[in-house]
Every structure is written in C-alpha cells, then in structure tokens.
C-alpha cells in the first residue's frame, strides 16, 4: 500500500504541495493578529531593498557589500530570532516516506514563499540594474545579455541565501544536542555578531577607509553580480553550491527527524535548599546548568561581551575593554527577557502554590549566574586596560540590579507564549511560536536595561567614585522595586498568563497587556498603527534630527542621510520635513491607539 504514497512523491507535486501549504498558513497569519506586524516588517524590508537597489546605481563595490550583509542577515537572523522560519517542519513529513533529497527540495521551494524571500528578491533586483549599467558602459548587446543573465542569477542568489540559512540552523540544531555543541555554537555566534557590530574597526584596520575590501565581491553573495558582469563561471559555481548545500541540508534533515536523544545518566547533586525561596533558586540554578538552550544563551552573551569590547584592540585602542562586563549583563538580560515564556505551562505549579515568591527566587538565581561572571570581567578588564574604575563599577552594579528587576517585570508583563520544552522537537533554538515578538522583546530589553545605568554613569562621569554608591542604590531599587510589581502581577493575573501560554492567545477582555493593539480597530487601522509606531523613528531621528546635525556640522553627502545630499537651500527644509513626518506618524499612531482604548474602556 505504500506504493501509492511513493507514486505521489515522485513527481514535482511534493514541492508544489509544500509551497501551497506554506501559502495557506501565511494567509491565516496575515488575517490574524500578526498581520499588522508583518505589514510593518514588509515596509521596513521594502525600504532596505530599495536602498540596496539604489546602491546598484553607485560606482564602487557597494552592491556586493550590501549583498554580503543580506547573506549574513540570512545566516545570523535565525540564530538571533529563534530558529528561523519553521512554518513547515520536516517532522510533519517524516511518515510519508519521502527521500531526504526530495523533502529538502520541497522544503526549499516552500522556503521561497514568504515575506523575507520576497523582500530579498526585491533587493536582488539590483542585479538587473547592474545589467542595464553593463549595457550603458559596454554597448547594447552586452547589456541585453547581462540583463538576461541577471534574472536566473537573482533566483540562484536567493536560493544560496535561503539554503545557507537552513543549513546553519540545521547545524546548530545538531550542535545543541550536546552541551559542548551548545556552548561552542554560542561562542561562535557571539564572535560573529560582535565582529559585525564592530565592523568599522576592521574596515579601518584594513586601511581602506571608505573603500570596500576587494574580497567582498568574491564571497558567494557576490557571485550573482560577477555573472552579470560577464563572469559566467560564477553562475556555474552558484549552481554547484546550491546542489552541495541542498545535499548537506537533506543529510542534516535525516539526522534531525531521526534524532534520538540518549537519556542522561549522570549523578545529580542533591538539593540542599530548605525554604520555599531556596527551592526556587535551586530549581533555577539547575535549569541554568542543564538546559542546553540556556547554556547556549550564556555562552553567547559572554562571548559577545568579551569580543565586542576587545575588538578595538586590533587598532591598539584598549579603552572599550572594561565594557565587557556591562555588555555581557545587557546581552544576558536580552537573552532571558522572556524567562517565564521559555518555561511554558510550568507556570501552573506557581499558581497552585501561592505565596512561594517565585519572582524573588528567579531574580536571585539570575544574579547568582550572571553577577559573578560580570564582576570578574569588569574587574579584570578594567585592571588590564587601566580603565575608569568608578565608571565601570557603577555601570556594572546599576546594570545588574536593573537587569534582574527588568527580566522579572518584562517577562511577566510582556510575556510571549513559549513552546513547552518537551514539545520543541528538532529545533531547540525555537522557544516560541511567535519569534517576531520574542526577538522584539530581546531588543526592547537591551534598550531599557541600558537606561537603568544612566543615572549612575552620569554621576560617575561628573563626580567620580560617587557613581558607585549611586549604582548600588539604583541597582538595589530596580531589583526590589521592579520585582514587586512583577510578583503582584503574577499573583493577580496568573490564570490569564497561563491561559495565554496554553493557547497563545490573550483571554477575552484582558486589557492588562499594554503591548497589544486594541481589538476594536479595523484591520486597516491596526496596520496603520503598526507602521506608524514601528517606523516613525526613521524619518524623525536619522533622516530628521541626525541629518540636521550633520548639515549644521557641514558633513555633507553623508551615506543615506537625504538632507545632506540636497542643494544648499533645501537641506534644512528636508530635514525638518522628515522630523514633521516622523512626529506626525507617532501622533497618528498614538491618536488612533488612544481613541480605540477610550472607546474600549467606555
């Protein structure tokens, strides 16, 4: 009877069926609550793609550099945002008897359906622009050929991006099956992301200033452009790379669906706690050491902090080194921003044992894990680099307290429902179905934690050692003062949070989450609110305020700041116009939101 199944699996229908499944799922999510978020992500993506196409009109190697960034985005994005696109999982098809190659092919085709691939394809339209420019420079015939080559090159380039992304995720999933792998992957991610964040250093170190290093155009991300510029070997090379990556992915998929973890049989240290508070700490500390995802997060945060702070050493600048500790604290907070969500429905036990101070225990455990490491980093690196002791210590204490308060508060108030640990399947990075919100929360945490250090750092800058007691004080206040509302909210809205965790939906009439767009807005209005609030910062800050600052400093022709490219009389008007647009977007979004809230309350 299996014959009928394999018959169906033989044709190209597998790929088409999978693509159709993906379209169906996407259609539901566009209609659902994610629609607004997808719309604003789409606008932002289209802007980035437009910027990339614009680079194709410039001389110099800006285009391959931009494509290198897109490629890195595809590779790193899933690591940061919880395992990438998992709409169709290989586990769904495990019983169909598909050959791995065919399954990978089908999943690849399905992977082309979606917002991110569409936007990337748009960005790759820069290849067509490059083709047209070939025609302008070398005659019409060359131009026609170049444009004809650009079309398959776009698709193949996109396939390279998507496949690189999938293979990375699959490799990581494999790595996260062992402790060594989890830590190793965390270290590698930390190094890569830190270097990306500090890429200016390497640009300067290579002594090229505003020039793009030559090797960039020979990266796989530049092969499409090489082909358009007449190097057809690059097209063949891309085809070979695609076949190799597809084979690798197919092999990794079989490992994943067939993965069988051996139960651990190590001796366990006995629990010595004797109070409810101690029990929570003991439980948390065990989870920190045993959960490979948390191992990975910690290793990542630590490596990121160290390498981000240490990379200016390449230029002989040690001044940033003492920041390793504070950066580690901020990254660790961002990684654990969804602490309650990550534990899934285990929250029911907290609800059944009222008065056991789960929040305080978690805070203490967080401090016990992050605190000592952060202090050692701060002390050692400040000593080595001969940094400013008051500045580093005040920031470290203030950040530790701020992080431990905010992790508790934000993970309760902004809870993003997680996947129960036992249901995570072959992708341990994926701790939530709603990875967009989870990533947003991590960035938000990065930002607000940094804010908690501002008072202490300012005092340290102006009054030296006085910053340290201020840091201790604000840290203690945040720890205690932000933990308190977290504890209260957990007690008052525990059942609602548990319901959210079980179903992924906010209960009816739960107005407690301030992050949620009011329901009584129409779909169009919700989309407008999302776009206004999430993108209003772009015209307001970089294109408005920053551009005006550049104009006033006489820094003209500055990268993408439009006002600096304008003729003299238009510079300030353009910057002010952008500021007005940004302020108007915030005003519109805020006004629609407030009006709906009032209507809902009344």
């Amino acid at each position: 009877m299996a014959v009928t199944i394999t018959d169906a699996a033989r044709g190209p229908s597998v790929a088409i069926t999978m693509a159709r499944m993906k379209v169906a799922v996407l259609r539901h999510s566009v209609k659902g609550q994610q629609g607004g978020m997808m719309a604003s992500a789409g606008v932002l993506g289209a802007l980035l793609a437009g910027g990339t196409i614009f680079l194709a009109f410039l001389d110099g190697d800006w285009l391959p550099a931009a494509y290198a960034v897109w490629m890195l985005g595809w590779i790193i994005g899933p690591v940061f945002s919880g395992g990438g696109d998992e709409t169709l999982r290989p586990e769904f098809f495990a019983l169909l008897g598909l050959r791995p190659q065919r399954m990978a092919g089908g999943l690849l085709v399905a992977a082309f359906v979606g917002l991110a691939p569409a936007i990337s394809l748009l960005a790759l339209a820069g290849l067509i622009v490059a083709g047209v420019r070939e025609g302008v420079e070398h005659g019409a015939l060359t131009g026609v050929v170049a444009v004809l080559v650009a079309v398959p090159a776009m698709v193949m380039q996109l396939a390279v991006f998507v496949l690189l992304s999938r293979v990375t995720v699959a490799l990581l999933g494999l790595a996260l099956n062992s402790r060594l792998g989890a830590i190793g992957a965390g270290v590698i991610n930390g190094v890569i992301l830190a270097f990306l964040g500090q890429s200016w250093i390497f640009a300067i170190a290579m002594g090229q200033g505003r020039e793009i290093p030559a090797f960039v155009q020979f990266l796989p991300s530049g092969w499409g452009l090489l082909a358009v510029r007449g190097n057809y070997l690059a097209l063949a090379a891309m085809a070979v790379l695609i076949v190799l990556l597809l084979a690798a992915w197919a092999a990794l998929l079989t490992r994943r669906t067939g993965a069988n973890r051996t139960p651990s049989a190590r001796g366990r240290r006995p629990m010595r706690a004797s109070t409810p508070h101690g029990a929570v700490v003991a439980k948390e500390l065990r989870t920190w050491t045993r959960d490979l995802v948390r191992n990975h997060q910690l290793a990542f945060a630590l490596t990121y902090g160290v390498f981000f702070a240490a990379s200016p050493l390449v230029l002989g600048i040690p001044d940033m080194l003492p920041l390793a500790g504070p950066i580690f604290i901020m990254m660790a907070a961002a990684m654990t921003a969804n602490a309650y969500g990550a534990d899934g429905t285990a929250l029911w036990l907290t609800l059944m044992t009222p008065g056991a101070s789960d929040v305080r225990g978690r805070q203490l455990a967080w401090l016990a894990v992050v605190g000592p490491v952060a202090l050692v980093l701060a002390v050692v690196f400040t000593a080595v680099a001969d940094g400013s002791w008051p500045l580093v210590l005040s920031a470290t204490f203030a950040l530790l307290g701020g992080a431990v308060g905010l992790v508790a508060l934000l993970s309760v108030t902004g809870l993003v429902p997680g996947i129960d640990p036992k249901n995570r399947g072959g992708n341990p990075l994926r701790t939530s179905e709603d990875d967009g919100s989870a990533t947003g929360m991590a960035y938000l945490m990065l930002f607000v934690v940094a804010l908690t250090a501002v008072p202490a750092v300012l005092v340290a800058v102006w009054f030296g050692w006085w910053g340290v007691p201020v840091g201790l004080l604000t840290g203690a206040l945040c720890w205690w003062g932000l933990g308190l509302p977290a504890e209260r909210r957990l007690a008052s809205s525990g059942p609602e949070l548990l319901h959210l965790m079980r179903t992924g939906r906010h209960p009816e009439g739960d107005k407690s989450s301030s992050f949620k767009v009011p329901d009584n807005l129409s779909k169009t209005q919700q989309t407008i609110v999302w776009i206004c609030l999430s993108l209003g910062a772009i015209p307001l800050i970089p294109q408005g305020i920053l551009a005006a600052v550049f104009v006033s400093n006489g820094q003209l022709g500055h990268s993408w700041f439009l006002a600096t490219h304008m003729p003299p009389g238009l510079r300030y008007p353009v910057a002010i116009g952008f500021m007005l647009i940004g302020a108007g977007m915030y005003g519109t979004g805020g006004w629609l939101w407030q009006r709906a809230k009032k209507a809902e309350a009344g």
Binding site: R261, S264, G278, A279, V280, A346, L349, D420, P421
Partner: protein, 249 residues
C-alpha cells in the same frame, strides 16, 4: 457536611464558543467522582476553573468551604491537582521536582525527603533516579504529576485524564493509590472519556455535554439499569456513525 468540592454556576466563553455553561456540581466528602463527556465537552475547562487555574466568567468553586478565588491559599492547600499536558520543571529529576514542590508548599526538608522517597518507590519511579523529567515517558509524566498532587497530603484530588496514554501496569498502580486515598477518607474527582474505567473506579458520576451537566449523582442512580456507556450515549444523544464504513477500505 461541607462538600469536598462545590461548583456553583461556573461559566466560561472563549470568543463565540460557550465552553462551560453554568455548571453546578457537588462532590461529597469521601466520594470517588467521575466526570465524563466527549472531547471538547468542557471537562478540562470546568476542572481548571474549579482549582483556580482558569478564571471563570461567572460562578464560584469552593473546596471544603474555602473559595478558590477569594481564599486561594487555604483552598489550594486542601487540593492536589494533576492537569493534562502541562509542563513541569523539566530539567529536574523526579526526586528534585518533589523536593522543590514540597518546599514551595512550606513542608520541612525532612518531611519532604521522607515523602518523596515513599512516593517514588510506590509509583516505581525510583529506578529513574538520574533521569530528568523532560526525558520521561508519558506514563512516567502522569505518575510524577500524581506524586506532586499527593505530596502535601491534600484532602481532595482533582485529576484531568489521569489514565490517558498510561500503560496497563502503571494504570493499575495509579488505581491502587487512588482507591487507598479514598478509603483513607480522601475525595477524588477525575475526568475521563473511558466509561468502563469510571464504572470500575467511581461511586459518583457527572455527565457533561456541550458545557452543561446532563446528569449527576451516585453512579447507580445515573446509569439506572443500563450500562454507563449506553446511558451516556443516550444522554449526549450523539447519533452513532460507527455503522458507516469508509468508502476506500
């Protein structure tokens, strides 16, 4: 005598869907109460509201007279709960889960250690001393869940589908423990859609259909002369589709 569990007018609506429609149930002290109903009838929603895991739109639940919502500390002290399919502290071993929860319940370290030892050995989980809960099989998960429900010596057990996906040997162990608990004066409420199991174990039964109580009371009164299964089909009025075959087989 106050009822072990008194459910009055509990109601819950999810969007358009009325999950529980003003359910009234009384579980007398010392009874072994079976809650039966089809999938989606509202059993889990009712039990979740009864123990304080889901906030009802209307109605109250009292455990030995203590209101679950206005006096949660006392009510939750008196009840042990086994929900269906919820996570545990997954990175702890069975013994660690019990130690952790016992301490959370305010028990002393020595008492916790003694009870954990006994529970693990009675439930035959002591062989898996080094295994983390995340690596447990479904049957083992049910058993460690039952152990956490029994740990603080509650007077009422509320168990959602305790025998779902449990092998016969483990099921026999669980049945033995529950019978012993009732014999010792405790009260048990369990939900199930296996009629034979409820007939075998319970002395009281409540039939839930489409969010309402279709019948409730002592087992013999509810089923009358028929078997519980026949009575159940009659009550929920589901036209049977068993006779219709599948066209391609």
């Amino acid at each position: 005598m106050t009822a072990a569990l008194e459910i009055t007018g509990l109601a819950k609506t999810f969007g358009e869907n009325i999950a529980v429609d003003h359910v009234e149930l009384t579980v007398p002290q010392g009874s072994f109460y079976g809650l039966v109903g089809q999938n989606g009838a509202g059993k889990t929603t009712t039990l979740s509201m009864a123990v304080g895991l889901l906030r009802p739109d209307a109605g109250t639940a009292q455990i030995f007279g203590a209101d679950v919502w206005s006096d949660p500390a006392r009510a939750k002290q008196l009840v042990g709960v086994l929900p269906d399919g919820m996570a545990m502290p997954e990175r702890l071993t069975g013994r660690e889960v019990l130690t952790y929860l016992g301490l959370l319940r305010g028990l002393s370290k020595e008492v916790v250690a003694g009870r954990a030892e006994e529970l693990l050995s009675v439930l035959e989980l002591d062989g898996a001393e080094k295994t983390l809960v995340i690596e447990y099989s479904t049957g083992m998960r049910k058993k460690i869940g039952l152990a956490t429900a029994l740990l603080h010596a509650p007077r009422l057990l509320v168990l959602d589908e305790p025998f779902e996906a449990v092998d016969p040997v483990s099921a026999a162990t669980i049945k033995g423990i529950l019978r012993g608990f009732v014999a010792g004066g405790g009260s048990v409420v369990l939900s199930s859609h296996v009629m034979a199991l409820v007939e075998q174990l319970c002395d009281h039964v409540g039939v839930i259909d489409k969010g309402r109580v279709a019948a409730a009371g002592p087992l013999d009164e509810v089923r009358g002369a028929a078997t519980l299964e026949d009575r159940f089909v009659e009550l929920v009025g589901a036209g049977t589709t068993a006779a219709r075959g599948l066209s391609w087989l």
